[in-house]
Point group: C2
């Protein structure tokens, strides 16, 4: 009693559709979910195939290997999130202070937004914990641009006397406060359960901006007093 498996939207397992492209897409979607849930090493190709309603061999047929599939998932998710949350143009902000606020909001949005189930942030966490061959590309594509952008804003706020090392450390201080709410979420939720309620991004970015603006102004005064 075999029903036709191709075009007629086969009601087989999940939603393979029927065309080869549909299989590919289903595998990608299933792989994303499984990789996020288990990480690369713990993810099982059989889980992915089953979830996609496809055969195990389909993975190697369409992508070559488990690792190639992983890299493909990573590449797609990262670029998608990047274009969903474009970096704000610093020239559009009236003041460096406004630019900082805008940049922090976007950074936090990227890290905390729950659309797409937070794939990229979770994968980023996994990569940082157990770096794979994918991390360098991820740093270059996702992190470095944000870091450069923030560095420019910090440079504007610290004034002309700031050296490169100071700019770098201060930028780290900004990034760290944002990433903290991603990484330490289970911890923060234990200590302050209401933190991730509605409007979290706005609330947190406002605090981080206020905290950091005070720090950067003080740092600037310090630099200029030392230089004088």
């Amino acid at each position: 009693m075999k029903l036709p498996r191709r075009r007629p939207a086969s009601p087989k397992k999940t939603a393979v559709g029927g065309s080869p492209e549909a299989t590919r897409a289903a595998l990608l979607q299933a792989a994303t979910a499984v990789f996020v849930a288990s990480g690369y090493e713990q993810a099982r190709v059989r889980d992915i195939a089953e979830r996609a309603g496809a055969n195990v061999a389909a993975i190697n047929y369409h992508f070559g290997s488990k690792e190639a599939l992983y890299l493909e998932v990573l590449r797609r998710q990262a670029s998608e999130r990047i274009e969903r949350y474009p970096l704000p143009d610093p020239a559009q902000s009236a003041t460096p202070e406004a630019a900082l606020q805008a940049a922090l909001t976007m950074l936090l949005s990227r890290l905390l937004a729950d659309d797409q189930r937070g794939f990229v942030p979770k994968l980023l966490m996994r990569e940082l914990l157990a770096p794979s061959a994918a991390l360098p590309a991820m740093v270059q594509d996702v992190i470095a641009p944000q870091f450069r952008q923030l560095s420019a804003v910090v440079t504007a706020l610290l004034g002309p006397r700031a050296d490169a090392a100071t700019i770098q450390r201060c930028t780290f201080s900004l990034v760290s406060q944002c990433m903290f709410y991603l990484f330490a979420r289970p911890l923060v939720q234990t200590l302050a359960p209401q933190t991730y309620d509605d409007g979290a991004v706005a609330r947190l970015s406002a605090h981080i901006a206020q905290f950091s603006l005070g720090a950067l102004r003080a740092q600037r005064e310090l630099l200029e007093r030392a230089d004088a």
Copy 2:
């Protein structure tokens, strides 16, 4: 040509010693190294046994299973690190500023010190990524005390007008800057390779203290101006 394997410090593979206790100890030490390097799932019992100069079966004989060995390693490492880096007494510091500096140094030490190969911090990362039943105990034993301590220091620096939420967020800002250098290490090393050179803890804690003291003073002024 079998040489006597027991007491006479057998020069076999590594340093099993000879007695059953020595085998146990060697297994524990090797297991610690391997678990830290690879994590529980990726750690191979054969690696551990070889590193300890023991037979694979010795693990199951002495500890019952791979998981039991892991939990034993965990238990020992956690308690050891806690007593190695005791929290500084805030009453011993002359000023709140000095107390902040001392607390940050100790926090960073705990997170970055490479003795024992940073087992507990790495485990903390794994727990935050995939929380298990061990996390609550870990928060209670390792994190919460530091957080309370830092909160007290922050309260002193922010002055009497600070509300609980502000104190909490500012303390998070402090903790986040410290944890960042643990979590984002692969990232930081890409962007600023020299960061973890000798004296990292002193250098980083000095920056974080300076940055944050400026932020906290500004915050205090803000609070007092708004209240006045």
